[in-house]
């Protein structure tokens, strides 16, 4: 079980990381970050089968925090869209990226 779940989680995490680095659309970057967080959740659940209940507990906190983060993050993306009419992070450069 663990031998499948952990590599899968690592692969998902790597895809998420790659996505954040490669893509330039703020929404897609945020989606990739969510993918990372879900990779972490998978790792926690898989590990908690062997280690103990703490890992599953952690998953609930991660989900809660991810929801709060999404609320604030999407609000910020909307604020940027109102000014720039785009969410491509390489299209606006009032500040050097």
């Amino acid at each position: 079980m663990l031998t499948y779940a952990l590599p899968l989680s690592a692969a998902l995490f790597a895809i998420g990381t790659l996505g954040v680095v490669v893509r330039r659309n703020a929404i897609v970057m945020f989606l990739c970050i969510e993918l990372q967080l879900n990779a972490v959740n998978l790792a926690f659940v898989a590990l908690s089968r062997q280690v103990g209940i703490e890992g599953q507990l952690f998953v609930f906190f991660v989900m809660t925090v991810a929801a709060a983060e999404a609320a604030v993050g999407l609000a910020i993306i909307i604020a940027v869209f109102r000014h720039q009419r785009t969410v491509q992070v390489d299209r606006f450069n009032l500040l050097r990226w």
Binding site: F30, L47, F61, I76, R96
Partner: protein, 499 residues
């Protein structure tokens, strides 16, 4: 009073400063709804300051409370309480320099001050956490509140952009932090720092998960403390955010990340010191070199102070690499002095910008010292302290960190620290040179008029006083810092690897 968590009342006591501040922050929010806030903006700020004062009283009272054992999720130790002083002072000074800014920029005062209070609650939780779960929750409480604060000025496109960049990179860093925590949890079988230390020591955590977990955790924190090469977001976020928020981000938010980092490295991961030592060594050296060298070519004072804050992160990382009691005390002392100095410098930036984002170019400071001698003198003092000039708090802070590094025989890092400090004189003194030695260009409209708000003067005098006091008579503060780190590393004192 001794806390053994036999009754749920003890949990409340252990988290008293956090509870006070959280409830108070809610109160500030509520006070904001009751009326359209046009005239009430400064009052809400004073209310937030009163709440912070109450939290400070609670924090002081916690010194009389002891805990049984050292494995509870929430630590009631002096390390936490000292860190809380840094956060409370940082937040209070930030609110004081925000009072006029918030009115002038017509920001939503209640939300603004409440977010600062909530972020401070998060910092306190971070400083208190003896469990990676609490570290994560605290860090996110801080981060989410500060994302919103960075993007707070909705009329300013730069503020929104700064918020977006800070948010994306901050959430990205949280991902690394979390994956690291997951792997460490898998290796050690617990998220409790003491349990992790035990597992590492017994060799139970020797599996292939511990080292990658540690590396990912260090990467996540390197983002949070804006260490090179994970610093890209810092200059943009600091430059675009409203100036008082920048002051807060550069001081208290940074301090919180360092405090958590220190506790994790010194307590939980001390057994794998040999593995994280080279990683942090290189990060610290790169941070000092890159931060200082890039700061030299900056033309905006906010951006220069952002790179300066990266460079100071490098000095603080040296204290982490040294990983002994002297360095830990130096770290706390440094954080306190650095917080006060940075907010002081930003208070001047806010005043020069006349409570807006104008005049952040360093050329605009030409001749400013002669026109506003008090502000000019204090700004010079803060810059000298940031540079580490003898007689200022910044010098003593660097001195104590160097002492810790020398005890750990980190000679090369020590050389890098001293050399990059010499480089930093160039860009700090350049601002002072503009203020005192350059004439304002012909026809430059640099309005001096408009009284400096009373609160800013108070902040400047408090900051200036602390910078001088810690520089000339550092005894009391460093004694307090040394007392605060006693016992932090006791668990591994006998087993610490030969550094």
């Amino acid at each position: 009073m001794t806390l053994d968590y036999s009754s749920s009342f003890h949990y409340l006591v252990a988290l008293l400063p956090e509870c006070v501040l959280f409830v108070g922050g809610m109160g500030v929010l509520l006070a904001g709804v009751s009326k359209t806030d046009e005239q009430r903006r400064p009052e809400l700020g004073w209310l937030a300051l009163a709440v912070l004062a109450a939290a400070a009283v609670a924090n002081g009272w916690l010194y009389s409370v002891s805990e049984s054992g050292a494995t509870a999720m929430i630590a009631v130790d002096k390390f936490r309480l000292f860190a809380n002083w840094v956060f409370i002072v940082g937040a209070a000074l930030t609110i004081a320099i925000s009072l006029a800014y918030v009115s002038r920029q017509r920001l939503q005062a209640a939300e603004y001050y409440a977010l600062i209070a909530f972020a401070t609650v998060g910092m306190m939780v971070v400083a208190a956490s003896r469990d990676l779960m609490i570290v994560f929750l605290g860090m996110e409480t801080v981060s989410i509140a500060v994302y919103a604060l960075a993007a707070f000025n909705r009329r300013d496109p730069r503020s929104a952009e700064a918020g977006l960049k800070y948010f994306l990179l901050g959430a990205f860093a949280s991902g690394f932090l979390l994956f690291g925590i997951a792997l460490i949890y898998g290796a050690a079988g617990s998220t409790n720092l003491q349990a992790i230390a035990v597992a590492v020591q017994d060799g139970a955590a020797a599996g292939g998960l511990m080292i990658p977990g540690m590396a990912l955790l260090v990467t996540g924190f390197a983002f949070k403390v804006s260490a090179v090469p994970f610093h890209m977001w810092t200059p943009d976020a600091y430059e675009g955010a409203p100036t008082p928020v920048t002051a807060y981000m550069a001081s208290a938010v940074k301090a919180a990340a360092f405090v958590a980092f220190a506790r994790i490295l010194f307590v939980g991961l001390d057994g794998v010191y040999d593995q994280w030592f080279p990683i942090l060594w290189w990060i610290a050296a790169a941070t000092m070199v890159v931060g200082n060298l890039v700061a030299v070519v900056q033309s905006s004072i906010k951006r220069m102070l952002a790179y300066s804050s990266i460079a100071h992160g490098g000095y603080l990382l040296v204290a982490l690499v040294a990983a002994n009691d002297a360095a830990a005390a130096g770290l706390l002392f440094y954080l306190f002095v650095y917080t006060v100095t940075t907010v002081g410098a930003f208070a001047v930036v806010v005043t020069v910008g006349r409570q807006s984002e104008r005049d952040t170019a360093i050329e605009k400071y030409a001749g400013y010292g002669w026109r506003r001698p008090v502000l000019g003198t204090l700004m010079t003092l803060f810059l000298l302290s940031l540079a580490g000039f003898p007689g200022t708090g910044g010098f003593m802070a660097k001195f104590y960190v160097l002492q810790g590094a020398a005890e750990a025989h980190l000679w090369w890092l020590l050389v890098v620290l001293v050399l990059t400090t010499l480089v930093s004189y160039w860009y700090y003194l350049r601002v002072a040179w503009f203020m005192w030695m350059k004439e304002a260009p012909e026809g430059a409209v640099h309005r001096v008029g408009g009284a400096t708000p009373f609160a800013i003067y108070v902040v400047l005098l408090v900051c200036g006083g602390i910078v001088l006091a810690t520089g000339l008579l550092p005894g009391a503060a460093i004694d307090l810092a040394q007392g605060s780190v006693e016992g932090l590393r006791h668990w591994v004192a006998g087993t610490a690897p030969a550094h």
